[in-house]
């Protein structure tokens, strides 16, 4: 923003209008309570002007303070009697009606600014003390046997790491794909197909052995049928390509014969 080719202007940044005012007072080397409103207003406006010249964004709070200062200044020029009916200020942030009030607020702000400075010092001090695990700031994990410490920045707390570990650990056990297959064991399905066929005593389409709509079940049923055909327990009949596959039970006595001729799509690996 303040940068043009090879030309940098550094302006101190202010936390707000009070901060700026406080800075101006300090620069003037006067006590807060003996500040001349006229002078401080002038300097304040001059600063805002320089900000504007540099095309810096001026926060609205700074402008409200400028207006407040001008109002205070103008009031000082007017005879006292005119001040009785004071109009209400809309913005409660700047409910400042007298220079006295302004000074008081500045004084209060100065107090907290000092505390903030004190906190900054304490922060620096505390930063020098390393803890085993500082409330999520530095978490150390022992990796391997060579006592290599690594700091995992993403961790907010030791519990994050514990969770990460448990996620990795449980990932091995949690295998949804396999568990789905296990629901349909080929041998069980074969038994089911055989018993159903025996019960119904008629050829049935392959579809009728698929109870759900899971792809896994269809695959298991198909593999079971192929297996059964290989073992010569069933006959498979498909009238045309992609047509329904009819399954019929092989008569017991035929089951041990070599090959049953027919339009079978069953195969045993060929």
């Amino acid at each position: 923003m303040a940068q043009q080719e090879g030309y940098t202007i550094k302006l101190p940044t202010f936390e707000g209008p009070f901060d700026l005012l406080f800075h101006l007072i300090k620069k003037a080397e006067v006590d807060i309570w003996s500040v001349s409103i006229a002078e401080i207003t002038e300097q304040y406006l001059a600063y805002l002007q320089s900000m504007r010249e540099l095309n810096l964004d001026i926060a609205s709070e700074f402008l409200v303070m400028a207006a407040t200062l001008l109002r205070l200044k103008s009031k000082l020029l007017l005879p006292r009697s005119n001040l009785i009916n004071e109009e209400e200020t809309e913005d409660e942030l700047f409910e400042i009606n007298t220079a006295e009030e302004l000074f008081q607020r500045l004084e209060e702000y100065r107090n907290f600014k000092e505390v903030a400075q004190y906190l900054r010092e304490k922060e620096e001090e505390q930063k020098k003390i390393f803890l085993r695990s500082t409330g999520g700031q530095k978490v150390m994990v022992l990796t391997g046997q060579e006592s290599v410490y690594t700091i995992w920045e993403g961790a907010q707390h030791l519990s994050d790491i514990m969770q990460r570990f448990s996620e990795v650990a449980s990932a091995k056990e949690y295998t949804p794909a396999f568990s789905a297959v296990e629901d349909f064991v080929i041998a069980d399905k074969a038994d089911y197909i055989e018993s159903t066929l025996q019960e119904k005593q008629r050829p049935m389409p392959m579809k009728s052995f698929v109870n759900g709509d899971s792809l896994w079940e269809i695959i298991v049923v198909f593999i079971a049928l192929l297996e059964m055909a290989r073992q010569k327990r069933v006959d498979l009949l498909q009238e045309c390509h992609f047509g329904p596959i009819l399954v019929s039970l092989k008569p017991k006595e035929e089951q041990h014969e070599e090959v049953n001729v027919g339009e079978r799509t069953a195969e045993n690996g060929h």
Binding site: E15, E61, A116, L119, E124, I129, L131
Partner: protein, 205 residues
């Protein structure tokens, strides 16, 4: 248990614990009074500093904690090169200072002291758990009240709030009063009036 052994237990306890441990807790572990625990901790503290160790026991956030010596920081920083947490901004420190003294305090009260909007800073401090929303002020809009947390004390290595410097201008409000609408000049008279009206209205019902 012998005194030396009791101190060893405290050392081990502080070594293992990430959070500050209260003397009450130490007392429970050793089956001694909190006062006795306090004196044991102080002895341990002294023993550690006299025997040239890299660690120390220090008081923070209402308890004791073990940490490294500050003068070792330049060396330790080489091992733990990444300074994970950046320092707080000046704005954040100013807001924290105000909340610490004025708590429980509303956003508007904080803003009136700083003369700047602070919503964003307050939100970030809540996220960092340095302050918390401790309740709501009775009155129009029931604004949130902010207070500092134990993490605030820990972050700055303060025993308690009394370790903060005295404010010159005004007397510090007591921390535990639920209703701390100070009668200071920075609270706009209008708000006071509205609050008063509101309370009276409530009383009528």
């Amino acid at each position: 248990m012998e005194r030396e052994q009791q101190k060893m237990v405290i050392e081990a306890l502080l070594f293992l614990t990430e959070e500050p441990v209260t003397v009450k807790k130490i007392g429970q572990v050793l089956s001694v009074s909190p006062e006795e625990a306090e004196s044991l901790v102080c002895e341990l503290k002294e023993n550690l500093s006299l025997s040239g160790r890299g660690i120390q026991v220090f008081e923070t956030a209402g308890g004791y904690q073990m940490g490294t010596l500050p003068e070792l920081a330049p060396h330790l920083e080489k091992a733990f090169s990444e300074d994970v947490s950046s320092n707080l901004s000046t704005a954040a420190l100013e807001v924290l200072a105000i909340v610490a003294y004025k708590q429980p305090v509303t956003r508007v009260e904080v803003e009136s002291i700083r003369g700047v909007r602070c919503e964003h800073v307050l939100d970030n401090l809540v996220k960092r758990k340095l302050i918390k929303i401790s309740g709501r002020k009775e009155g129009p809009g029931r604004p949130r009240l902010y207070s500092t947390t134990a993490d605030f004390l820990k972050y700055f290595g303060l025993k308690d709030l009394s370790e903060l410097p005295e404010l010159e201008l005004e007397s510090r409000p007591s921390e535990e009063t639920g209703e701390t609408l100070s009668r200071d000049a920075e609270i706009p008279a209008g708000v006071e009036q509205i609050k008063y009206d509101f309370e009276n209205q409530n009383g009528d019902h």
